[in-house]
Amino acid sequence: MWNSMKSVQLSFVCTRIVIALTVLSAVWTATPLGRHRLTASLGYAERAGAENAQTPLIMGLYYACCIPALVALLCLDRLLGNIKKERVFVEENVKALRTISWCCFAEALLFAAAALYYAHILLVPAIAMAFFGLILRVVKNVIDAAVSLKTENDFTI
């Protein structure tokens, strides 16, 4: 029978898989084939034997995007770990949500920069990330208010 605990467990497993995929993708992109695939996807395919002048910039942007993504995923992992331990309305979770929200805004900025220089289609994920960040900020504010209510309730004797 499906229940909320199994749902949390599924989210936990999915988060761990995405963390592993992000790390693997970062490692794969460092290889010549991965680098070629990344630059080609933005229309800057490397010629055989000659590195494209845009490659270092594209790689830099890609790895810059990986950092907030990994930070957000690790925060999500910690958040889900707390939910599994039935510690939902705690200050630590508010902090994790705040960090994830800032990571979304950082990704939005990086995608916007990439959209400006490389492919305008990247503006769509940039807007989406900014929107996620905004939603997460609101959720963070709600959880923060719930933490205050819980603290008051816990300290009512």
């Binding site: 603290t151 008051e152 300290f155 009512t156 004797i157």
Partner: protein, 69 residues
Amino acid sequence: MSIRINLDVVMAHKKISAGELAEKIGITPANLSVLKNNKAKAIRFSTLEELCRALECQPGDILEYETEE
């Protein structure tokens, strides 16, 4: 905080231990400690009633209002 709990004073006056009082009023020693150390955000009327009954005192003996400077 402008409301002070003088529970330790009343307890000393009545010569009653924290564990004994907690048992008498039906709250955990941890919660009594929160109350005694002025860490509580609020107190239920039922708890106050039990405290007054166990310590044979008035709410005013336990709670004191302090003007903030």
